[in-house]
Subunit: 419 residues, 2 copies
Amino acid sequence: MGIIGRANEEVLRRIQAAEPVLVDVLPAGEAIPVLARGERVALHAGPPIEWGRMCGPLKGAVAGALVLEGWAGDLAEAERLAAGGGVVFHPNHHFGAVGPMTGITTRSMPVMAVENRAFGNRAFCTLNEGLGKVMRFGGNDPEVLARLRWLGEGLGPLLGRALRLRGGLPLRGLVARGLAMGDEMHQRNTACTGLFLREMAPWLARAAEGEGDGLAEALAFIGGNDQFFLNIAMAMGKAITDPANGVEGSTIVTAMSRNGTDFGVRVSGTGEAWFTAPVEMPRGLYFPGFSEADANPDMGDSAIVETVGLGGFAMAASPAVAGFVGAGRAADALGYTQEMYEIAAGRSQDWTLPPLDFQGVPQGIDVRKVVELGVAPVINTGIAHKKPGVGQVGAGVVRAPMGCFEKALEALAAGLGVG
Amino acid sequence: MGIIGRANEEVLRRIQAAEPVLVDVLPAGEAIPVLARGERVALHAGPPIEWGRMCGPLKGAVAGALVLEGWAGDLAEAERLAAGGGVVFHPNHHFGAVGPMTGITTRSMPVMAVENRAFGNRAFCTLNEGLGKVMRFGGNDPEVLARLRWLGEGLGPLLGRALRLRGGLPLRGLVARGLAMGDEMHQRNTACTGLFLREMAPWLARAAEGEGDGLAEALAFIGGNDQFFLNIAMAMGKAITDPANGVEGSTIVTAMSRNGTDFGVRVSGTGEAWFTAPVEMPRGLYFPGFSEADANPDMGDSAIVETVGLGGFAMAASPAVAGFVGAGRAADALGYTQEMYEIAAGRSQDWTLPPLDFQGVPQGIDVRKVVELGVAPVINTGIAHKKPGVGQVGAGVVRAPMGCFEKALEALAAGLGVG
């Protein structure tokens, strides 16, 4: 086995040795030091991007977040502030964080912390806002901001207390159970949300003693949102992949992420570098009244779940999600996973797929196989309206652009002196 | 279409028109008038049986229930009381009730009430006691009795208040969601238990205001028991099938039930009559330290879920349960459901199976097809130790004995003047 083989074995070992535990909820400004400084900082999904190249929903979310933080009085003032250079933008990924769709994270928003106890690192993701008009899809009206304030002042602190009382919630086994219940952890988190609530409801009750009203509201919010677990799965994915990055010679992908304009990939052997290409348009199903003409191209840090073998890679777990994202019938769902085995370096030992007789999910995307076979990673995704302030218009399947992997392979080859 | 065809269409129509709603939890003595009388009455699973012919776990459960009710000071006194004719025994099924395994129901036990809003009838089932030593598997020690008292004084009244506050919990859609998440609602209720908690947790919090301690305990008990929903599914099955019984000429089964000694079947066209044969031994997997030598034959009213198309009939939904009950691999799970289509009069319109591209579950067992094809209904079941007081030793698959269906067909033929 050569240097690449040994390096990839080490990366797979780190991915499979991870022990992700949801441990806390705290304000982003406390969790992520760059957000605590005096300057106005907004973290976003995907690789780095300046205001002028941002897509509509990302601009909408930024404007809403600036109003939420009190940095602008209204959305128009917020846009002027951002366009005039009054806000510093960074990717979530540069600070151990991830965010769905627009992925906007600013200091007052609560973030969930997942600790990888095998390696000691932490990763963060905001709380899922539910469906309808939400900031992750570019929503920014008063209803969106009021919900974010309640997440920061109500649900977030309560869930944080409950998690600390419990001593954290281990996620590896919970995700394994969710896969056996039809979740692929990207467009379907119905089972894991229920499993999460089964584990946490008594602790929420203990944490809420003396504040009964807030408890019922919190339980109703979590229980009423099939996607509540998505953001937990994302923080888990980031907590798993961060320690797997930076292994010299490895051709395994450690991040896939999109800002709505560019798709970016990181590979373990090239560390912090991003390899980017224009994002593609998802193919999927649109909510009534919308069509592909309304859709923004692919967006969000959520493809971190595919990076660890879930989402589109685990489609076999979820014939129900195959229908939701317009990916076909039960046999087609199996087909997506079988195709992803072709580009995976290994398979998970405990995240298994009952419909494939408990084979592990494909894990560790090998850039070499992607390029050689011409098989691009498949991602299950939500679809945002291309204008700011509208929200989600559908869900579908998208491929990571081949250009990212070709550039990464060139850089890897150059780094190994074979370029 | 002859008289049988028309009658079977009407029975299927009634099954498919049912609107089961979980509406209340109340003491069995209030819900079921026969239990409120002065005499000592115990309801049991299966067709009628006297004390002398009862199996070990059923005798064990009876003895425990007599101590629980204060009718005997200890288990030995309870056995003497029962053997001496001091207790009146009836099947649950004769009073709109069902119970898992031994199925013992006495006056102080809380029962959940499912109302079939399309027909106005109600059906009842005790609360699931969890795993380990429990009365439904013949357990009767102080731990078992203490838990039953807490169910009657703590969880039961709280859940009843929560359900009344909510205005009831409709079950048809919830079961459809559970099928898409790998539950077959007999040996696997993991998803439906989570969906149930997601719906009920905020109402439990509202119902518990001012009694915080009991709330956390209640949420932990429900959330910690993958089978909590089984008893709800059973009451639902009974609420669906009762109005479908008594249609002249119909050859569709309206109850399958076992007391651990006899298997009994009721058919719509023959109303209240039971057709019985000796119960069979489940084939399955045993918990460590136990084998078939320890096992009691098949037991419980729980086969009411197969009677409405769930459990073994819905095995295709649940490759995970196929492994648990020793029924083989994912393809075998599909095979059980496909075989049950052969003996079903129809299929459900909204309880669908994603792994079979959303075909409806087989529904309405036709006695004629069972006998003609020699295909016996398949039932997923727990396995009890044959001695009183031990508990569950495994889980498996069992077939309904062909003799019940042959006798039923003879009676139907005689009734139609073709015998």
